[in-house]
């Protein structure tokens, strides 16, 4: 091997174009810092502690007195005692294998069918994560080792008189991490699950919301060159399908002030460093096709 050849290879190595996003990625990573995963968990931990205390007391009373439970369910402020708490927590901590799986549980809904079906879903989702993690861990151990981690948890996005919105997230770390978030938005008064289609009179909402999101994406890209979404923009070439429209049952929730928020998973509409993008849809954009103004204001 001649030095000349190695030098040639080295030149090619050094010639790899540096994307302009690199600055942004490095700065963002430093800013998010070590709080990244850890804080996400810590925050959840705090919620658990305070909620758990309140709920433990409450369930004790409910269990003791069926009559009391019935009375409470009939009291108008019933909405306020619908709570989310951690039902179960699985932790695996073996040097390169880390799992912290938190199963949420909703309590206090008078509609027990809804409550049970949601809680069953949460348990099932997390059991699947756990089983998959154990299987991956075995496989990786057989193949000589590696690092994997999984964190799952939840966050109460909205909790007001009408709405309880719970986000469940899964952060999967094996080298680059992927994050998926799912939401359940519950009407505490009617005790029903709100779905995206149920908010609208007609199917046009898919097109209207998608159009608005694409507009927001373009505006963000225009005002900040570090932001990138996978849409057609200024003739930029895309190596894959651009974002076209939201799914009929796209992830969403309703925030504290009554805005519709559409959410995407990591990689769904943007490169990984953009995280899990969320878009607040201005209410006037969808006002005409809303079924009512009870949830969205």
């Amino acid at each position: 091997m001649k030095d000349k050849n190695l030098e040639q290879l080295k030149r090619e190595y050094l010639d790899v174009p540096i994307p302009k996003e690199l600055d942004f990625v490095v700065n963002k990573a430093l800013k998010d810092g070590s709080r990244h995963h850890r804080n996400m968990l810590k925050r959840v931990g705090k919620v658990i502690v305070s909620l758990a205390a309140a709920v433990a007391l409450f369930t004790a009373v409910l269990n003791v007195s069926p009559a009391f439970a019935k009375t409470v369910a009939e009291v108008p402020f019933v909405g306020n005692i619908v709570k989310v708490l951690t039902f179960r927590n699985y932790i695996i901590n073996e040097d390169t294998f880390q799992a912290d799986i938190n199963v949420p549980q909703i309590q206090g809904l008078a509609n027990k069918d809804l409550e049970n079906s949601l809680n069953e879903k949460y348990l099932l989702e997390n059991k699947k994560l756990y089983d998959q993690f154990m299987a991956d861990m075995e496989e990786i151990k057989k193949n000589g080792g590696g690092h994997i981690g999984i964190y799952s948890g939840y966050e109460v996005k909205t909790d007001n008189e009408v709405i309880l919105a719970v986000a469940r997230y899964v952060v999967n770390t094996a080298a680059s991490s992927s994050t998926t978030i799912k939401y359940d938005t519950i009407d505490k008064q009617k005790q029903t699950l709100i779905t995206l289609p149920s908010l609208f009179k007609e199917d046009r909402y898919v097109a209207i919301i998608s159009e608005n999101i694409k507009q927001q994406m373009s505006e963000q890209m225009k005002s900040d060159e570090n932001k990138i979404y996978w849409i057609e923009f200024l003739g930029r070439e895309l190596s894959f399908e651009p974002f076209d429209k939201i799914a009929k049952d796209q992830n969403f929730y309703i925030n504290e002030v009554g805005n519709l928020v559409i959410s995407f998973n990591k990689y769904e509409v943007a490169p990984g460093y953009m995280g899990t993008p969320e878009f607040i849809i201005p209410t006037e954009v969808i006002a005409d096709i809303l079924v009512g103004h009870q949830y969205i204001k």
């Binding site: 690199l22 680059s176 490169p271």
Partner: protein, 167 residues
């Protein structure tokens, strides 16, 4: 004290971000994933800063994180079964046509990862054998053997591809 360490890490990763990007790119071969690896490596570095015993070793310490993150990434991709890493590197080698010497580049890309790693770290990043041994978590002799074998393989492959002309 701790904040000081964090500051040193921040300064270091900012100053040498291009090196880290190139290193990550040499494994994953595409900008999106390479950016992801840089980002993830910084997260890991900050959350594991206590494992940096001596700030003089920050360079090899961080390189080790980048290499491990990239390897984990490739392993995951392999498991997901998108594309075999070696097929991928052959394809990439063919698709990019600005190389002045395609065969040479292809020969390097065709090397198994553990051989390619030592070539990259030794000749392109100009690290010492001892430093490479630490980064790859191997002993010095293993690194030397791999380096020797890599050069051997490169030479063989080039001979097969272009029997003459590369003397």
């Amino acid at each position: 004290m701790k904040n000081n360490l964090e500051k040193q890490i921040a300064e270091y990763v900012t100053k040498y971000k291009e090196n880290h990007y190139r290193l990550a790119f040499s494994y994953v071969k595409n900008p999106e994933d390479a950016l992801d690896i840089v980002q993830e490596s910084i997260y890991k570095a900050l959350s594991a800063k206590d494992t940096l015993k001596n700030s003089d070793h920050i360079k090899t310490w961080f390189y080790r994180i980048v290499v491990n993150t990239a390897l984990d990434f490739l392993r995951k991709r392999k498991r997901v079964g998108v594309m075999d890493e070696e097929i991928l590197s052959t394809l990439e080698g063919g698709a990019v046509d600005h190389y002045q010497n395609i065969d040479l580049q292809r020969a390097l890309d065709a090397l198994p990862i553990k051989y390619r790693s030592v070539v990259v770290l030794r000749y392109f990043e100009d690290l010492k054998i001892e430093e490479i041994a630490y980064i790859l978590n191997e002993n010095v002799n293993t690194v030397k053997t791999r380096l020797y074998k890599s050069l051997e393989k490169l030479r063989l492959q080039m001979n097969d591809d272009v029997r003459e002309g590369l003397v």
